[in-house]
Amino acid sequence: VLGVLTRQDFYGYALTQEVRQRLPISESTLYPVLRRLKKNGWLTTYDEPFQGRNRRYYRLTRTGQAQLTVIRAEWGDFSQAVTTLLEGDQQDD
């Protein structure tokens, strides 16, 4: 979600569609996720009028951006380790 929000701000429905293009999450899953990210201060919300009602947009904060960098690094290390293990590579082969 943080990664998707680096490109642009999204409102709930569009963000769900965006994530669902990549991962099979259910339509109702994202609310708790967004709530937690907001609680951690990694994203903020603002309302924008659209056809007589409001759309709540989600925007990545600076802290969120920093957190994303940390997550990317951790994921890089982790996925590298798993890949190595799965391939059964051994130094003294």
Partner: protein
Amino acid sequence: MTEYIQALQKLLLQLTAAEQQDVVEYYREYLQEADITTYEAAVAELGTPQTVARKVLADYSIKMTEQPAGRQSTPAGTKANVKMIWLVILALLSTPVTIPLILVVGALVVAAGSVAFAGVVTVLALLVAGFAGGIVGVIVG
């Protein structure tokens, strides 16, 4: 759709008014964006109000009662419960670590005790030996 949202809100009574409002607004907006107007269509898209409520409440780590009305618990009590649940989970998860840790600490204590005991015995033995040696020396001398 209003029916769906109302049903959802009824399942969220354990949350504060502001939290309920936030949840309801999110899903109301979602259904509007998805052009969903009927209760049935909303269920097809999001699942039943129960499913959605369960997901939201699980995130607050609050156990949902099966009654639609749901008991209203005090926020303080709920917070204490949540803390307790986390502590229990933490305790359970950490047993693979804590049990060996306790064993190791216990073993160390026993070992330290043995060393101390051995030291005391040695000192006593030396004293006794010294005395004995002295006495023998006096007698012989």
